[in-house]
């Protein structure tokens, strides 16, 4: 199974901006690092990079190339840890969104 954090995050960001509807687009594009969404999406990109490199290593190992198995397995473990952290951050964010969504005006 292949997990694509990019699409997961894109869906999530869509829901966020749909729900809140006050996001300033020019703000997000001008300062991606200081913007929270920008920070998160760079995090997602980083996790994706780690997963891609782990995938590459595994493919090399399965193809019988001369790679150190310890390095391959460490790469996998790092990808797993990074992804778990990402999912937790996403869960926390969703929780905050749900809470704001349930406020009665």
């Amino acid at each position: 199974m292949e997990i694509r954090p990019d699409s997961l995050f894109a869906r999530h960001a869509q829901r966020l901006s749909d729900g809140v509807g006050v996001r300033n687009q020019s703000d997000a594009t001008s300062s991606p690092a200081s913007d929270f969404i920008g920070l998160l999406s760079s995090g997602v990109g980083h996790v994706n990079d780690i997963q891609n490199s782990a995938n590459l290593e595994v493919e090399k190992m399965l193809a019988g190339e001369d790679v150190q198995s310890a390095e391959v397995l460490t790469g996998l473990q790092k990808a797993d840890m990074a992804f778990r952290l990402l999912v937790q951050v996403r869960n926390k964010l969703m929780q905050a969104f749900e809470e704001i969504n349930n406020i009665r005006i």
């Binding site: 310890a70 473990q77 840890m81 778990r84 937790q88 869960n91």
Partner: protein, 139 residues
């Protein structure tokens, strides 16, 4: 936190190389002729480790194999004048040169390398469990 894993991995790779050289030493325990067919008994090899400051950063030192050295000591001589590889003249006339490999030393080395391997895997286990516990702060 993740670079701690890199440090442990570098140690795993280094100890693996050490185990490989020990395997070579034991495999060539009675090798009398070298790669080119010359009458030269196998000389045991050993690894030299070196700190690697660039792998992890942040003051942490990983480890890498600096070089694989050869033990240039005198081989073992046995008097076998009828052996085709026996020395024809000189000080060791009639003697055959055998590799000087002490199996006890090699096995103790192998044991140490495999225990070091285990220890590093133990450290990785601790790192992983800390990361997992950290996640529960957020959840």
């Amino acid at each position: 936190m993740i670079s701690a894993l890199d440090v442990s991995t570098s140690a795993l790779v280094a100890q693996r190389v050490r185990l490989n050289t020990i395997s070579g030493n034991i495999a060539n325990m009675s090798t009398m002729v070298d790669e080119n067919g010359e009458n030269k008994p196998y000389q045991p090899r050993f690894v030299v480790f070196q700190t690697d400051e660039h792998k992890a950063g942040g003051g942490m030192a990983a480890v890498k194999v600096a070089s694989i050295e050869t033990d240039e000591g005198e081989p073992l001589h046995r008097y076998q004048p009828d052996h085709p590889l026996a020395a024809k003249d000189g000080k060791w006339k009639g003697y055959v040169a055998y590799p000087k490999i002490n199996m006890n030393e090699q096995f103790v080395d192998a044991l140490e390398a495999s225990r070091a391997y285990e220890a590093n895997i133990g450290v990785m286990e601790v790192t992983k469990s800390i990361v997992r516990q950290n996640l529960s702060i957020l959840a």
